[in-house]
């Protein structure tokens, strides 16, 4: 039969199942097909902290959301247009997020009285009217998969595991996705188990054919490629982009990269990724604890490497004392904090922006540390390079504040030319720098003699003759670095360390004020870039004038920030915390910023944020 092909400009799909059902893999593959097709896209995985919660329970539901479009998009989407639910728990856990009229494809296999009762359903939602506002395709995907694999020689259990590929095949047909990439991927992934590769391919094709040949799906859809700027692209998640940024930055700096880290969600991917790249001179050290992770990184920096540590909020808390030591030693160090919900263990697999004040102030004494934040998955690459620039030029620890949303989410990324990346090369000091002696030769080395422009001290690494010196966490005398308890010296050193950070060169903020007559400015930082941008578009479509700007540099702020803020009647600051940037802005610029906050462990929904913004835009206060 011939099916109708309908054009869509954008679709949000969510695939949900048990943690062990392969939902993340299925989502990744659909994403890759979509990327290859040329749509713009944005993804959001969502999974429990438990590795394999009991099958069929709400706690064990894992999902993957993909938003793809024929135009540029900024978020993974608020509400799915299509939900694929592989069991009753996956249906129940995600039903509340669906918009009226959404399509549900549900595997009916586990809709038994017992399984339904386990998650608190007393009757079958497929037949009791619960789903009446949706277009429902109730299929026994498991049985269809088993039928397709009849005669494959696989056990029922093994054959049933291919149901995610059956579902992927069906979705691929529905949205006219290319399939070659997935077939090649399956052959490679299961190269050592060809019978499993074949089973998955058979299931995938069976799913595709089911869509094409049955009348159940009268229509398939097409989302045309998006007009991205010319260039070469790949799809990339934030943690991967961040790891690549560190490797590229170290190579541009001419320094060996040393990562000291302790496993922690959602930062461990960075450790995993960097451990694969030893040929680039990358050393990874899985330390005994968070403190040793940052300590080893600092030790490596002392020796002339680029020391990096990666963690999340709880780990950052443990590293605080060592970061203070790095402030005192004035050595380069990059501290990656992939933020998650807190306090304490909090929400390990969910996102939040609540470590900003910890990064700013979470140390004893006056211990200023530069702070920067990436705004999207691909931007993690550029942010890593910027962190390396600041760390090496100013000889300082630098915080790089990513979060779970952009760390695991992905988007198309224009692949940079390595040769055109910023030159970050570093000069170690190799000769004494003191005053000449009576005979005109310089023999004295002053480890805290500063560059007059940057206030950075020399980086003199062990192995350099004539520059032997001692550094430490005790207050040091200006220039010589000797122990000093002198009151005037301490006053000078505290203020000098602050002045060094305050003086870091940071690009000016650029404001997007399309009409030039906006009275309201939305100021964001980090991963809220996408949702804020989407919300601003909605507000503008509704006829409002509204300006938007986004901070990469949280410490120091761009020089023109005060002027930008003063140019608007109202400044609105959306954050996934209780107003941490708003606190800094109010304290620093004495303006009554409006703080819009949310801490649900999830990014803002563009629609919710647009409603909040419209509340501000229409208020007379």
């Amino acid at each position: 039969m011939s099916t109708e092909v309908q054009q869509l400009d954008r679709v949000v799909i969510r695939i949900a199942g048990d943690s062990g059902d392969g939902m993340q893999l299925t989502g990744d593959r659909f994403t890759q097909e979509t990327a290859n097709f040329g749509n713009d896209l944005s993804t959001q995985p969502n999974f429990p902290a438990e590795i394999r919660a009991p099958a069929g329970t709400l706690a064990g539901v894992s999902s993957f959301q993909l938003h793809f479009a024929d135009h540029d998009i900024l978020t993974p989407g608020d509400r799915p247009d299509v939900l694929v639910a592989m069991n009753p728990a996956a249906l129940k856990a995600n039903l509340g997020d669906l918009a009226k009229g959404a399509t549900i494809i549900v595997d009916t296999r586990d809709f038994t009285e017992r399984a339904l009762a386990r998650i608190g359903w007393t009757s079958d939602p497929i037949t009791d009217g619960t789903l009446e506002n949706f277009t429902v395709h109730a299929l026994d995907l498991t049985q269809l998969t088993l039928d397709a694999l009849d005669g494959s020689g696989l056990s029922r259990k093994d054959a049933g595991r291919s149901k995610n590929m059956y579902a992927l095949g069906l979705l691929s047909w529905m949205y006219s996705r290319p399939t070659e990439g997935t077939l090649a991927f399956l052959r490679e992934k299961f190269a050592k188990k060809p019978e499993i590769a074949e089973a998955n391919i058979t299931a995938f094709r069976a799913g595709w054919n089911y869509g094409e040949t049955t009348e159940a799906f009268g229509v398939s859809y097409e989302v045309k490629p998006a007009p991205l700027p010319a260039g070469e692209y790949r799809n990339i998640a934030g943690n991967l982009a961040l790891a690549y940024g560190l490797i590229a930055g170290a190579q541009r700096a001419g320094l060996p990269l040393f990562l000291g880290a302790y496993p922690i969600t959602p930062a461990s991917d960075i450790l995993h990724e960097l451990s694969k790249h030893k040929r680039f001179g990358v050393r990874t050290f899985q330390a005994e604890d968070e403190i040793a992770g940052v300590g080893a990184a600092l030790g490596a920096s002392f020796g002339g490497a680029l020391g990096v540590t990666s963690s999340s909020g709880p780990g950052i808390a443990l590293k605080a004392e060592t970061i203070g030591l790095a402030v005192s030693l004035e050595l380069p160090l990059v501290i990656v904090d992939v933020q998650r919900g807190g306090p304490s263990t909090g929400l390990p697999t969910k996102t939040e922006q609540s470590d900003l004040l910890q990064a700013m102030y979470g140390r004893n004494g006056e211990a200023p540390v530069p702070v920067i934040a990436p705004q999207s998955p691909g931007d993690c690459f550029d942010a890593a390079l910027e962190a390396i620039r600041i760390a090496t030029v100013y000889r300082t620890p630098v915080f790089l504040l990513s979060d779970g949303y952009i760390a695991n989410g992905s988007e198309p990324w224009k692949i940079p030319e390595v040769g055109s990346l910023q030159d970050l090369s570093v000069d170690f000091l190799t000769e004494p720098n003191g005053e000449p002696g009576p005979d005109g030769t310089v023999t004295e080395f002053l480890p805290y003699l500063r560059d007059p422009d940057t206030l950075a001290r020399p980086w003199a690494v062990p192995g350099t003759p004539g520059l032997e010196h001692r550094v430490g966490g005790i207050e040091k005398a200006d220039k010589t670095g000797h122990i000093s308890y002198d009151p005037d010296n301490h006053e000078f050193m505290v203020r000098t360390r602050q002045a060094k950070v305050d003086g870091i060169t940071v690009p000016d903020l650029v404001v997007d004020d399309a009409t030039g007559d906006a009275k309201v400015l939305v100021l964001g930082w980090g991963s809220t870039y996408g949702p804020i941008g989407a919300a601003v578009r909605r507000a503008r479509r509704a006829g409002y004038s509204i300006a938007q700007t986004h901070l990469r540099h949280l410490n120091p702020f761009p020089k023109n920030l005060g002027q930008v803020l003063a140019s608007y009647d109202k400044v609105v600051i959306p954050e996934m915390n209780l107003g941490q940037l708003a606190l800094l802005i109010r304290a620093r610029y004495l303006i009554d910023a409006i703080s819009l906050t949310q801490v649900r462990g999830m990014p803002f929904r563009a629609a919710d944020l647009a409603d909040m913004l419209q509340g501000v835009l229409t208020s007379d206060d």
Binding site: P256, R279, F280, G295, G324, P462, G463, G466, H469, R470
Partner: protein, 353 residues
Amino acid sequence: MTDTVHGSPNGPGSASLGLKAKDFKTDQEVRWCPGCGDYAILAAVQGFMPELNIARENVVFLSGIGCSSRFPYYMNTYGMHSIHGRAPAIATGLSTSRPDLKVFVVTGDGDALSIGGNHLIHALRRNVNLTILLFNNRIYGLTKGQYSPTSEQGKITKSTPMGSVDNPFNPVSLALGAEATFVARTLDSDRKHLTSVLRAATAHQGTSLVEIYQNCNIFNDGAFDLLKDADTRGDWIIGLNHGAEIRFGKDNSKAVIRDPATGALSVAEGVAEGDPRVVTHDAHTEDPSYAFALSRLSQPDTRLSPMGVFRDVTRPSYDQLLNNQLDTAKAQAPGDEDALQALLRGKDAWSVH
């Protein structure tokens, strides 16, 4: 950077650099209390360094916090006075990324065994190329006299007016429990012995842990007098010399003997020459339980303290294993700019025209 150079360009046996002890002194005033055992250790280390024959710029002394941790300020090499307990971790990052350096860690009983206990045992199990000098004075000195993790039970201090109820660590036992490849003990006031132990420790590949009994004359004076007084030391120091019978006391009449039935070690008096039960010390014994058994002979009041090298076995260092992996990876495919570009491109790139 010298990230592929393994081992020091110079060292014992190579052409003499002609260094003198005074070359290792700094212009900094030494600020330990007059009479502190640390002075003797500093003098012994400075006196030994020329023999090590490594250029000053290739030597790093790294410390934590405490009286002993001021040590790097007085050594004219590279140095870092870091934070409490963390020196082994910091040194691990330095040593693994700079295998061309000789890295020392100077620490104390509180620094190494209390706040930094975790880092110490992990450095030991990894066998990082570090020589760790653990000054054990069995007291907290810099915070003015609280009991430490090596203080004897019942010790009356500022924080234990009714006596400490903590069971102390024996640092040598602890290190051997972590399967340290080199463990030794010496005494601050015995320069000759201290120097011989330093010689063995610095020749070792991997982590060498040297416990140095050190007198704090302010807060725990006389803690090691039994091992120092001419009248008693012969009875209580059990000298360990590789390849020699473990005998001590007047006329070498005491000895460490092995129970032929159980293998247990004990000290016996009046042991005749040729007694087959007498243990011949073998520091190269692979099984750490032998050295551990030796370490358990010590009494809480320092009587029967074995002194010398308990264990010295060969195992690849962490630095070597890690850097071998880098060399292997680089030999398979260089990490040049083209390789980086290919990495960024990945397998699923597409072009937009």
